[in-house]
């Protein structure tokens, strides 16, 4: 048991060290791509809290990404850099609030209805962004510079360089991963996993399951808002496409590809999906067809995603599993 924990810690540290070296080995294009992947990985693990741990298949997770991104863009002043210490918490708060409002209504449903309700709300958010001049309509909005970390007039950090922005995003990914890991291992995490496997039983044990499902939904929304903010400033641009159902579908694919219910799996899934997308797009203009094929093959041969493959390769002591 401790051996497994040590191995996990060693792998985690090795991956972090490898990611920290990225700016030294790749060019600017791939650095930007890695920044985008790191932000998408935050989204994927936040969606995994819903999909893999709470049993809530949200087809509208992009809405919170969009709210975080748009809030970040709307709060950015035109002629100077935004202060991250103010704009980031406000963007996360906006995503959290919207997640709460949508969640209050959506958690009354479950299964296929939950999927449809979350999709419907996300599409509503999409059209609000798409059809409202205030939000820039279908053109979206430009952000004119990357944020700074300022206390009063004192600039603590200027995130305008690609390297420092990458490290900032990576830092947020690591913190998000650790936070979500603590959440799923906490008593709260056990309760939502209990709800996933048998909601009625949890109610019979005395847990107000709706409140726990709502809390889980809001937490996931908050992390999605963080990721949205980071993505918006990475691209220095927000557009309604960020909130669309295709985006929500892509996020679900990342989680399924990586293996839901593991947190690290969806993060790897984000990396793999974007990497495969880039690779196939270089090969042919019809890369989307190949991408579809790739996903189908993964689902058929690796039903538990990459995490399932890892578990198959690395099985601890099989001998421990004896029977009654």
């Amino acid at each position: 048991m401790t051996g497994t924990a040590k191995l996990r810690m060693a792998i985690l540290l090795a991956v972090i060290a490898g990611l920290a070296l990225v700016p030294f080995v790749v060019g600017e294009f791939y650095l930007l791509l890695m920044t985008k992947i790191a932000a998408l990985a935050i989204l994927a693990i936040s969606l995994d809290l819903l999909l893999g741990y709470s049993g809530m298949i949200s087809f509208g997770h992009a809405a919170f990404l969009g709210v975080g991104a748009y809030a970040g863009a709307m709060l950015a002043p035109e002629y100077e850099a935004a202060n991250m210490l103010i704009t980031l918490p406000l963007s996360i708060a906006a995503a959290t609030l919207v997640a709460f409002l949508i969640g209050v209504l959506a958690i009354r449903t479950s299964g296929i209805y939950f999927i449809m309700v979350t999709l419907a709300f996300a599409q509503m958010a999409f059209y609000v962004a798409h059809d409202t001049p205030f939000f820039g309509g279908s053109d979206g909005r430009l952000i004119f510079s990357k944020p700074q970390v300022r206390l009063g007039d004192m600039v603590l950090a200027d995130l305008s360089g690609n390297e420092i922005y990458y490290y900032t995003t990576l830092g947020f990914l690591i913190v998000s991963y650790l936070c979500l890991t603590m959440i799923v291992r906490s008593p709260f995490g056990q309760i939502i996993q209990g709800i996933k496997s048998n909601e009625q039983r949890m109610r019979a044990l005395g847990f107000p399951t709706d409140k726990y499902r709502l809390a889980s939904f809001v937490i996931a929304g908050a992390f999605a808002g963080l990721a949205g903010y980071l993505l918006a400033y990475q691209a220095e641009y927000v557009s309604p496409a960020m909130l669309g159902w295709q985006q929500s579908g892509l996020l679900l694919m990342m989680v399924i590809l990586g293996g839901s219910g593991t947190l690290w799996g969806p993060a790897v899934g984000a990396f793999l999906l974007i990497a495969v997308e880039e690779f196939l797009a270089d090969l042919t203009g019809h890369w989307m067809g190949l991408m579809g094929l790739f996903i189908v093959l993964i689902v058929i041969f690796l039903p538990h995603g990459l995490a399932g493959l890892a578990a198959r390769i690395y099985r601890p002591t099989e001998a421990e599993v004896d029977d009654d």
């Binding site: 048991m1 008593p187 056990q190 309760i191 996993q193 209990g194 996933k196 496997s197 048998n198 009625q200 039983r201 949890m202 109610r203 019979a204 044990l205 005395g206 847990f207 107000p208 399951t209 219910g261 599993v321 029977d323 009654d324």
Partner: protein, 238 residues
Amino acid sequence: MSTQPIVDIRDLHVHYGSSHILHGINLTIGAGECICLLGRNGMGKTTTVRSLFGLAQPSAGNITIFGDDRTGVASHIIARQGLALVSENRDIFPNLTVMENLVMAARVSKSGSREWSLEKTLSTFPKLTERLDHMGDQLSGGEQQMLAIGRALMTNPELLVLDEATEGLAPMIRDEIWSMVRAIRATGMATLIIDKNISTLLDISDRAIILEKGRIVYEGSAQELAKKTELHARYLGV
């Protein structure tokens, strides 16, 4: 402690769609009492328990728990009044370890007692101690049943309801579970037990109730019923 019953069910009717399942059930469970609910399949035993826990909606009648009307109340609120259910399909959380299955349910009782701590629960079910790190779905049927009962005890209930606690278990495991139920009963916890093991059940219980087509057809001392073998034949098919 007090003379107030834990549960008082009055004239309970339950419908599933157009079928009338329970026809005016009256049932009182006092503190420390052990009651067995008998009857053939489909006579309404589980429905009685389900409506007590708010899992089935009564169409008429009242359910009072510790003097408060709890008819039609959400099941999580009922559970917090000090009622714990071990259902026939056990419902162990397969994605949690044995330890997590137990501690996630832990709660102090309505009166503030923490009598059923993890230590006490594990000492009652020593088999679980060896399995603490195993996932819920890696347990044998008997171990799952012990875990389900242990999990219910961790909520420090005033009334423990066992619905078919020994269904599908080997006779040896069954005996083990019955001796644990006896130990739990000795602590003074009220219990309502549904099972097909009539002789054991009548031996454990104070009072026996027989349901027939949604109506109570016998209510009396378990010892008395043990002697009335003609009733066993008529209502229980044995």
